[in-house]
Symmetry: C2
Subunit: 513 residues, 2 copies
């Protein structure tokens, strides 16, 4: 057995059975091993950012890592932005990077680069395999490192000779581990704080944004008067009718400061201290009141849901689900506005949908506006590196057969990784992409105002995507995805219904005024 075969077999027996790939020459023995060994679902991406973003989306929905397959330092570089997003979202990925043979590296052939250095910038665990007889064990360690709570990117670099040499040994699958429980004393301290009645906010992130821990959080709020918020950007939130809702910390600095004003205690529940996304002249970086005391109920790597359950038992009271407005009457007509689109989404979102939200500026009302939609998961851009909506949708759909993926997608961001559409077509994935076509980097127009500058001719050219306008219908069709344009709310509603019942991917270009 060569190194590549031991690698594939170890991954399979560790439960990693899906591989998003954009291979090159140095990965040929890995591909050959995949040919010989059944069981790995291999999915080709036409660009590495598609591969890594899809692995992110897959793991968020599958609850376990996929493998990637990338080619040398520059191939890894192309996938780094979406690995950065996965890192910030605590998403497990077994990131495999083929590379120059160990003995060939010193010759510094043209494609040679600092693969390890690049990998370290996004990985919690990085290793270059050295011997065929070790690579199985390396793979098992990579799986373990990726899965350890709360999840992260583990990069295993595979010199080609390590893969083609004989002597591979299949490693035992790593043990399944649970996140570390929170000490009871810590929970009791937070319970005492909450009972004191001081103005307190629970910032709830990570694993606590599933339905059960959110129900526990609402019990805590009902029992103590504490307020609840989720971070601005989250990996996965279970929500919709019949589930307890949660608001998110707003993105604009002023709104975030307002949302946190008046609190004396901030309790972090699987979340980190909230800070401004960027610095702005004369505005603070920390968003909570300077004199608020910060407490930690549970760190992201701890059993966040268990800590909330324990806390609810100590201080909770029964919480009532909020009343739900009847949705069917709300399909919006008239001008295309963010709120109108939100209303249509709320009415027509399919049961059990997976929403991928990279809607940015136009989409601010989408999250609050859809809290009473049919039950769904809401997945966001977690690291700020725009261009992961289409890949996330692709991977989420691979992991969620039978569920509709709905991608609410800003046009400027979509352009970074639009090649994902082809993978959606090839894999016949049930993805509805809604391109919010405002033909601008609208967020930059807002940010230019935030920094106090006016917009002149050069800035116009840098922020507007027109001249020529992008034709998303043709772009989608070029990748083999059916597509249509909506320029009224009525046509959007019709197309959104059509798309969601369409077998395979469908793209709607929603032309914004």
């Amino acid at each position: 057995m060569n190194g590549a075969e031991s690698l594939v077999r170890t991954l399979l027996c560790s439960g990693v059975d899906t591989c998003f790939a954009n291979p090159g020459t140095s990965e040929m023995h890995f591909v050959a091993a995949l040919d010989r060994i059944a069981g790995m679902h291999c999915i080709l991406g036409l660009f590495e950012g598609v591969v890594t973003g899809a692995a992110d989306g897959y793991a968020r929905m599958a609850g376990k890592p996929a493998a990637t397959l990338l080619h040398c330092g520059p191939g890894l570089a192309n996938g780094l932005a979406n690995l950065h997003n996965a890192r910030r979202g605590d998403v497990p990925i077994v990131n495999l990077v083929g590379d120059q043979a160990t003995y060939h590296r010193p010759l510094d052939a043209l494609l040679t680069a600092d693969t390890e250095g690049l990998a370290r910038s996004v990985s919690r665990w990085t290793r270059t395999a050295r011997h065929a007889y070790d690579v199985g064990a390396d793979a098992a360690e990579a799986v373990q490192a990726a899965r350890a709570a709360p999840g992260g990117v583990a990069t295993l670099i595979l010199p080609s000779d390590v893969c083609w040499s004989e002597g591979g040994v299949v490693a035992a699958p790593p043990p399944e581990t649970s996140p570390k429980p929170v000490e009871e004393d810590v929970v009791r301290d937070v319970a005492a704080l909450l009972r004191s009645g001081a103005p307190t906010l629970l910032l709830i992130g990570g694993a606590a944004l599933r339905a059960q821990p959110l129900a526990d959080a609402h019990k805590i709020a009902a029992g103590t008067g504490a307020r609840l918020l989720a971070p601005t950007f989250s990996t996965r939130i279970e929500r919709g009718r019949g589930r307890f809702p949660i608001e998110r910390l707003p993105y604009p600095v002023e709104s975030a400061i307002d949302a946190l004003s008046g609190i004396e205690h901030l309790v972090l529940v699987g979340a980190t201290e909230p800070v401004a996304f960027f610095a702005y002249p004369g505005k603070p970086g920390l968003l909570h009141p300077a004199d608020a005391v910060v407490h930690v109920l549970a760190r992201p790597q701890e059993d966040v849901a268990g800590a909330l359950a324990m806390l609810a038992e100590l201080v909770g009271a029964p919480a009532a689900l909020p009343a739900v407005a009847p949705a069917s009457a709300q399909i919006a007509r008239g001008p295309i506005t963010p709120h109108a689109v939100a209303a249509t989404l709320a009415s027509l979102l399919p049961e059990d949908a997976v929403v991928i939200d990279e809607s940015l500026t136009f989409g601010f009302p989408f999250f609050p506006g859809t809290k009473d939609a049919a039950p769904h998961d809401w997945l966001q851009l977690t690291g700020g590196a725009i261009g992961d909506g289409l890949p996330l949708s692709t991977g989420a759909a691979v992991a969620s057969p039978g569920r509709r993926v709905v991608n609410l997608q800003a046009d400027g961001s979509a352009l970074y990784t639009l090649q994902a559409l082809w993978t959606q077509a090839r894999e016949r994935l049930d993805v509805t992409t809604v391109i919010l076509s405002n033909r601008a980097y609208a967020i930059l127009i807002a940010e230019m105002a935030n920094v106090g500058a006016s917009i002149g001719k050069t800035a116009q050219g840098m922020f507007h995507l027109g001249d020529p306008d992008l034709d998303w219908v043709r772009l989608a069709q070029g990748f083999g995805v059916e597509a249509a344009r909506a320029d009224t709310m009525e046509s959007f509603a019709g197309l959104f219904r059509t798309a969601n019942s369409h077998a395979g991917p469908f793209l709607i270009e929603l032309v914004l005024p």
Copy 2:
């Protein structure tokens, strides 16, 4: 004057007057400065790989660096693959990366990444600006570092507060420097070697691939019987009718070894020792005979052209230009083959064209087949990170008004950075893109054979781009570029003529059998 203004003014007075940009929030003050100060030609790319590849193409033709403008670590990451290519091609780029404010970085906001670490992997010079009053001087140093022979990537990271703070000082432009002359003794030693009559090959790269030094190289060959070769991949070769031709070292390992067999002395002229692009089981990494003696006439950072001129004076004899076959009769008909396409290109290439060659496997005959075409420049992928053909074309066209850019482009590679088409449309650049549409990573099919593996079902899925086929005409039109499909040699010839006389970009999808 704030830091951003001092930066823009320093760049302008240093001769850097073109900026390829994909800005974000942290670059708003730089964009605002560009609004206030006339003279910088700003060109938007929809993806950072387009920006960095275009800066590469621009510098190759302009003979001076452009600036880039990228956004934080992940934005830089998206541009790294083409910066890797520029690094390997010794191409000057002033790589500007906006980033978190100095005082905001410790808060580790979501988009914060190891920007300096990422930059170092591709840069010969990396600095993070610290103060508004220094940033002008930093910019001048970056320009100097990028330009120093043979050219390279200089990365200046710009925390947003450094840009917005007052106190900026415009720096004096850095002095123009010439590459260091080669010592006369070194040239005399090589002359003595050549006079000895021992089988010797001059491997000629970098700045020696322009018309005059190539003429000198042919004089040396005529006077001594030495053989001449260029590296497999080069930054820019001046060639075509009326110029002295040069062959390139073949890409396949066996062919490269054959090409170098029998030589006893290898003289490097602005080139590095030739090594295999990848290692293959049982094949050597060094391509020249193990007992050949390697000499250096000139290192890439030295005056390579001057050294050749001096050597030609010492040992050269008049060299005759080879006879040119009449080209007009050679427009190929019949089946679409690499040689047929080469013949059509040789006949129809416009006078003074700039050819961007990322044609890979199908294009092996293009270079030899076009040696008698109208005079032109030939630019290649220099670092093996596929996906720089469309961006290179974009930048080369910006730098070469009045000349037609002809991009001979493999389809799989084109997909990495296809967003460049939009920039070509917006800037109305005279680029003819010929997509060699074989719907496969054909090079990997060949490489799979090279490593001795057969192609099974999984490999088929990873190497073939069909199911669904990409429709390049729609993709181009989606980006605002006129396009048409050719599926015979006759229609290709017609479209190639049309495209080359078309104002602005035109894409031909040449459907390969």
